[in-house]
Subunit: 334 residues, 2 copies
């Protein structure tokens, strides 16, 4: 049991062939359900394989076939529940379809994103699904080298899966105005990111002329509230606050409460994404539900379709999923 740990020379096709008294080619045929092998030999081979505990050497197979059945998934930060859910759905769908996935967390750094893409190509992945930090070029995404599916950020020439951010922003504006709100604060996501920009645009476009943006500030998609954001919140001079995502909203609400500004009595707050926790916090969060899980599944579908397509069918896919306004407790009539 406590034997040595170097990869023990595993059972190979050769061993199985020898054991079954056939050639390695035959074994390969049987195991891959290819070619025509008599039922009799078939059984014999299978038995030998099982007895010896044969396991295909994927590296060898990958090398021979030029395909590894591995896909790479690159995301900015797995600690963000949004990405956790996304990763989970990509993982499960991939497993279901017999692909393994290399997960790379870039920690929001362009440099590691760059390196990750390179690294994955070197590793011989068949394709990559990437949720980029922001819209900046995505230089390594040489889609001519291998298929790349981009999540969220629209990138020329690459397959895309995203959600209706603009519509989501509008819905929030309409909802808040229906409650009578007229003076707004905005803690937007980084505007260098399309999806954040679209949310803001949708929100702003949804505002009527009687509504007013009292203050507006960019904020990282994170729970660490910036000093300037705190200063703005403290002013307590708006009746509703639009936040770029749920994490920002979460942080804002916590801060407001600590400063004796009640949510939603004194100020309404909205999020975006609808992470798991949005409905567990208090007050529960009014937000826009993102079809994260579906995004993951679609991304895998698009990628695998691309991997298995013939050249003729090449046409960029662009999948845009619906979002939904989820009204909870953090917003109330003025």
């Amino acid at each position: 049991m406590a034997g040595l740990h170097r990869r023990k020379s595993r059972v190979t096709l050769h061993d199985v062939a020898h054991d079954a008294g056939v050639s390695i080619a035959t074994v390969s045929y049987v195991l891959n359900k290819r070619g025509s092998v008599s039922e009799e030999v078939r059984k014999k081979v299978r038995r030998s394989a099982k007895n010896l505990g044969y396991q295909q050497n994927r590296a060898a197979r990958a090398m021979k076939m030029g395909r590894s059945s591995i896909i790479g998934l690159v995301i900015p930060n797995i600690e963000n529940p949004f990405f956790a859910t996304l990763a989970q759905s990509v993982l499960l769908e991939s497993q279901r379809r017999n692909y393994q996935v290399f997960l790379v967390d870039t920690e929001g750094s362009h440099e590691s994103e760059e390196k990750a893409m390179q690294g994955l190509v070197a590793q011989g992945v068949d394709g990559i699904i990437v949720f980029p930090i922001d819209d900046s070029a995505l230089k390594s995404a040489k889609s001519d080298q291998l298929p790349v599916v981009v999540l969220d950020r629209d990138t020329p020439n690459l397959d895309l899966v995203q959600a209706e951010y603009y519509a989501g922003g509008r819905k929030l504006a309409e909802h808040l105005q229906a409650l009578g709100h007229k003076r707004f604060g905005m803690l937007e996501g980084p505007q260098v990111v399309t999806s954040a920009r679209d949310r803001s645009r949708g929100f702003l476009d949804g505002l009527s002329k009687t509504s007013k943006i009292v203050w507006q500030q960019e904020h990282p998609f994170s729970m660490e509230l910036s000093k300037s954001a705190e200063a703005l919140l403290k002013k307590n001079n708006v009746s509703a606050i639009f936040c770029g995502n749920d994490l920002i909203a979460l942080a804002a609400i916590a801060y407001l409460k600590n400063n004796d500004i009640r949510v939603p009595q004194d100020v309404s707050v909205t999020g975006f994404d609808d992470i798991q926790f949005a409905r567990m916090m208090s007050p529960t969060l009014t937000t826009v539900h993102m079809p994260v899980a579906k995004m993951g599944v679609e991304a895998v579908n698009v990628l695998i379709r691309r991997l298995e397509e013939t050249e003729a069918e090449r046409t960029r896919s662009r999948i845009v999923l619906d979002v939904e306004l989820i009204v909870r407790e953090s917003t109330a009539p003025i």
Copy 2:
């Protein structure tokens, strides 16, 4: 740009060798900093490699070397922030040390855990880090086939990294009693899991004879509160509630508040793990801080050490990390 997507036959050693006018062996030597090659040739080779955009074919290398520089990470549920943080630390540490990682999410199913381990071995990973669903055997963990590091659940013969659960439980008991609490409810984690059992044991052992457990119930490590748990909470007949982890605590608090039972005025609640959100909710959560990130790093260290060790040094490592009581708002004097 819109070229075909089959893996374009990549630049190989041979191409570089040809371009540089040397043999492939020389190129290999240069690129792997092995053997002795004159500085002149060295430069020439590097230039050619760069020009042609050479990228090592890892599959071929893996096959030749019998080592893939890939490690497998198996966890029950990446959506649980605890595991997200863990995964992140494993990912980063692995990347830092030039290993890629296959992440597998077993969704809490023994069957997929089993399959995952098998699959990873087949894929040719060098080693596996696994956070098992529970203590049941972990049958596929043939540590004689490749190194396996187990997180959290103590498993015979396998390297282990875990935390001081027992001590954590005790600290909670002491803290609550110091606040004057005497009547307790327990929403423990699944007792089939050692780590959950240890938390409970620690808590119970930390109680003095004047303290009383009014009710005690097992609960999955999740935010979906069970009906029976709700019934218990509703009774409102205890002054403090021990929860198996933060998620349970989160759900319990939300439920209590919905039923007009105030936390901590009417009842104190404690969690375990100290996930990111524990300090963002309201009330902020008193809990036991788990050194998750450190666990991940240690696991990678142990695994890689094992991968690179010579047989002689084999000795099972068992790393137990300290935990820390974090007092926040969800607990108060009676």
